[in-house]
């Protein structure tokens, strides 16, 4: 961390300042700014291709914006590799599930603990001392998450064999395993039936309440967004067009136009 200047807002977990992202000529995001408060649920909505996913990719460092700053926990974040950002305890799920097909549910979630695994090569080779201890300690934490998400019965099943809904749940579990400060959910309920959606909502709320995790989620189902989100930011054509409480946003003229596709 080269800069250690502190932002004005204390309860702000992440502050995105005037972020612009280009792919060659194309502008995916043009100076978008908003913030995420400690232990709030922040929804990012907008029409397809508005740049929502790009926003998440910027937040967890998969894309590096050409302009703009990202402040995390009161510190300006330098350019980091995604795996370094993971160590800042920002975890995410993906729009189209990105689980490790070849591994069991348990191993997937244990992989989510990667940032806490520190044992060296030799102990691992001999499966002795720190390696085994570490394995057990992390297993305990993972098992609690398994219990929390009610997926005990599939613990040792290869994820490839699971139905879509459960896979989504496992992916959430993998993200939770990192005990994130900030959890990014990219359309956590896409393609789920209502029952599954209700479950997922419950889990998201529980995570937010029980663990006080801040959550930024992209979701198309307006109903869900209105129920879950504390605050909503609306992105369209890579620009922020509204930001505020769900009700305000819902009645915002720009937003309505954007969704109805009125020309700008």
């Amino acid at each position: 961390m080269n800069e250690t200047e502190v932002t004005d807002k204390v309860d702000t977990l992440m502050d995105i300042k005037k972020v612009t992202l280009r792919f060659g000529g194309v502008k995916a995001l043009s100076d978008v700014s908003f913030n995420i408060k400690e232990s709030e649920i922040r929804a990012i909505i907008g029409p397809n291709g508005a740049g929502k996913s790009s926003m998440l990719n910027v937040i967890n460092g998969f894309y590096t914006p050409q302009e703009g700053e990202i402040w995390f926990q009161g510190k300006r974040r330098p350019k980091l590799k995604p795996h370094q950002i993971a160590y800042q305890r920002i975890a995410r799920t993906f729009q189209n599930i990105a689980l490790f097909e070849g591994m069991t549910v348990l191993d997937n979630m244990m992989t989510g603990r990667m940032i806490y695994m520190k044992s060296g090569l030799l102990p691992q080779l001999l499966w002795w001392g720190k390696a085994e201890r570490e394995e057990t300690e992390n297993r305990m934490i993972v098992e609690r998450i398994i219990d929390f998400l009610e997926i005990q019965h599939i613990r040792k099943t290869p994820v490839g064999m699971l139905p879509y809904g459960l896979q989504k749940r496992v992916e959430l579990g993998r993200a939770l395993a990192a005990e994130p400060k900030l959890l990014l959910l990219d359309e956590p309920m896409a393609g789920m039936n209502n029952e599954e959606k209700e479950d997922m909502c419950r889990f998201i709320l529980d995570v937010n309440e029980e663990l006080g995790t801040s959550i930024a989620l992209i979701e198309h189902d307006m109903g869900v967004v209105m129920d879950l989100a504390d605050r909503v930011v609306v992105i369209d054509h890579g620009e922020k067009i509204a930001d505020g409480l769900p009700d305000q946003v819902r009645n915002d003229q720009n937003v309505i136009d954007a969704y109805l596709g009125v020309a700008h």
Binding site: I146, F148, Q152, D206, E209
Partner: protein, 640 residues
């Protein structure tokens, strides 16, 4: 040796076990993927911790403490803890609906409720106005309870945290209470889901429980080495006897499954050596087994059939130690390797040394199936009022249609009306706050009326049960009418889940049938019969034909026995909905509430007798979430 000389209480046994088996495992629970274990030492500490917690909540001697939740070690401990401080534990069926719980809490004036999780807590809170006495709730699983008002809610965690403080504040009190404890004091109060009216609270003393436990443990020489799986409702006397009475007497280990869904899997992992299950469990186990075998390849299936046939022939004799031809023995051993052994393995019964079934009659072929593959399954006859044990089958004297000989220490007599009476050290003290029914069931000499009709088989002195005494009626033609007897015979067919037979004071018998959705549904699949709902399947003509066939078979059986020949079923219909405890049609132990059914469906009953070919009806149903709705249907009535 009788219980008076034993002169022990459950807490005494706990102390004794800590002395005898301190470091041996007393409880296990599958949690977080592994079997968490507690030694007797740990259990004692856990119990004391909870007891202190109770004291800190101001629980007085004689107070009632309700316990609701699935089988979990801490909930068992919380019952023993209650006894420890002279309070009375009152386990309640976890799947009971609101008002049932409300009634019990109100009736026993529980001051404290111990709840397993949020679901149970909610149910209790809903019923608050019905149970004014209730002051506190202690819960085990904090999930989702974070935002509740904690002025009257306490978590086990908080009790644990205050342990040190509670110790120095209530340490002496704890010891005083423990001293004040004595064998004739109340050990537990269990509400019997009476087949009629409100449940009655059966009060059992430490003497009762321990005497019964000792007698039965000796009978099967249960040792500290046994393992059992505690999966039956904690509110049921059986579970209390097995998981506390016998477990504490013999000092064996009680294991709790991870959840109800994983029960079968956990059963396999633990592999109990001493196993109890009501007939319906063995039934569904067998059904699922047969269904899974159905999708096996032909060769494997035929091999299975062959060996099972052989088992039916010689399995039971071999089990009871009779001589069979060498060839048969060899084939059986082969079967043991190819089928029986693996089958016991997949069923999780490989290690069962003693297995019991009770509560209602079990189908002979089901019973024999398990015995023939080498599971030592036996029957016993008992009830809450007797701390379970009345009669029991000794090894080697096992039959499907009897319930064995009188348990050690139990006397039995049968009156002229055929009703069975017993007297034993396990006999209950009283029905709580209900002297008149206490007196009506238990006379001054301590003889208790079972309400069951039966007779003793002179040949071997085994007791045979016909039916509930009050249900044994007379037909118009004066012949004996034993509906339960007929119903059981019908229910032995896997396709029939439940059935109610009518005919008291009538000219002939009729039956209302409930098909088994799993079994019949599977049949439908294999004969590609399409159906969208239970109702549609139940109404299907082919299904009617199948049931028709079963009833004919039963009628033939009945015809053989002179004084039961009147009970042959002449007309029947298949009900459009499953009888359901939530609609009050079944008890929580899934016994039919005959009267309720008769009133609720009297339109059907009349139709059954007025000779009409079909009948239209609408019924109220209750869904899981408690909402009510109506379903209506036109039911065909079938002549036999």
């Amino acid at each position: 040796m009788t219980s008076e000389q034993l002169n022990l209480t459950i807490p005494d046994l706990l102390d004794r076990n800590v002395q005898k088996y301190g470091q041996k495992i007393a409880n296990r629970e599958k949690e977080f993927g592994i079997w968490q274990s507690w030694t007797w030492q740990d259990v004692k500490e856990g119990v004391e911790e909870i007891a202190l917690g109770y004291l800190s909540l101001g629980i007085q001697e004689g107070d009632h403490i309700a316990v609701l939740g699935r089988n979990r070690p801490r909930l068992y401990w919380s019952m023993v803890a209650a006894q420890w401080i002279g309070a009375v534990p009152v386990p309640i069926y976890q799947d009971a609906v609101g008002d049932e719980i409300g009634y019990v809490l109100g009736h026993c004036e529980a001051v404290l409720a111990v709840a397993g999780d949020q679901e149970q807590v909610d149910k209790i809170l809903e019923q608050q106005e019905k149970c004014k006495a209730l002051q506190q709730i202690v819960y085990l699983d904090p999930r989702g309870l974070r935002k509740y008002d904690h002025s009257r809610l306490h978590s086990f965690a908080s009790i644990h945290d205050n342990l040190a403080e509670n110790k120095d504040r209530f340490g002496e009190e704890l010891i005083r209470r423990r001293k004040a404890l004595s064998p004739e004091k109340i050990c537990v109060m269990l509400y019997t889901s009476g087949t009629t009216g409100n449940p009655k609270g059966v009060v059992l003393s430490h003497d009762n429980i321990i005497a019964a436990s000792k007698a039965s443990s000796d009978f099967d020489s249960l040792s500290q080495k046994e393992t059992v799986l505690a999966y039956l409702p904690m509110a049921w006397v059986g579970d209390f006897i097995f998981s506390i009475g016998q477990a504490y007497w013999s000092g064996f280990c009680v294991n709790c499954p991870e959840s109800s869904q994983t029960m079968m899997h956990d059963l396999r992992e633990i592999g109990p050596s001493y196993f109890f299950a009501p007939p319906r469990v063995f039934e569904s186990l067998l059904t699922t087994c047969m269904i899974r075998i159905e999708d096996a390849g032909r060769t494997k299936r035929s091999m299975f059939q062959y060996f099972m046939q052989h088992a039916r022939k010689v399995g039971v004799p071999i089990m009871t130690g009779e001589k069979v031809s060498l060839m048969d023995l060899i084939i059986y051993r082969a079967g043991e390797f190819f089928v029986y052994g693996p089958l016991r393995n997949v069923l999780g019964l490989s290690r069962v040394r003693v297995g019991y079934t009770a509560g209602e009659a079990i189908g002979p072929e089901i019973f024999d199936f398990y015995r023939s593959i080498g599971v030592n399954l036996k029957q016993l006859y008992g009830q809450t009022e007797a701390s379970v044990f009345i009669t029991i089958q000794p090894d080697g004297e096992v039959e499907a249609d009897s319930v064995g000989i009188a348990c050690p220490g139990v006397e039995i007599k049968i009156d002229d009306r055929g009703e069975i009476f017993y007297r034993s050290p396990g006999t209950f003290i009283e029905y709580y706050k209900n002297p008149e029914s206490t007196n009506s069931t238990k006379d001054k000499d301590g003889w208790v009326a079972t309400g069951d009709a039966g007779f003793i088989d002179e040949s071997n002195g085994h007791l045979k049960i016909i039916d509930r005494a009050k249900d044994v009626g007379k037909m118009a033609n004066g012949k004996l009418f034993a509906p339960k007897y007929v119903e059981n015979k019908l229910k032995f067919f896997p396709d029939i889940l439940e059935t109610v037979v009518f005919g008291n004071g009538r000219d002939y018998c009729t039956a209302v049938i409930n098909i088994d959705l799993i079994s019949v549904g599977n049949w439908a699949e294999r004969h590609n019969v399409v159906y969208s709902s239970y109702q549609e399947l139940a109404g299907h003509p082919e299904v009617y034909d199948i049931i028709h066939g079963y009833i004919q078979q039963v009628n033939e059986d009945l015809a053989k026995d002179e004084n039961l020949s009147g009970c042959r079923v002449k007309r029947f219909l298949i009900l459009h909905k499953e009888l359901d405890a939530d609609d009050g049609e079944l008890t929580r132990t899934r016994k039919v509430r005959r009267r309720v059914v008769e009133d609720k469906y009297n339109d059907l009953v009349t139709a059954l007798y007025d000779g009409s070919k079909e009948v239209a009806t609408t019924t109220e149903v209750t869904y899981e979430d408690g909402r009510k709705g109506f379903i209506s249907a036109t039911l065909r009535i079938c002549e036999v």
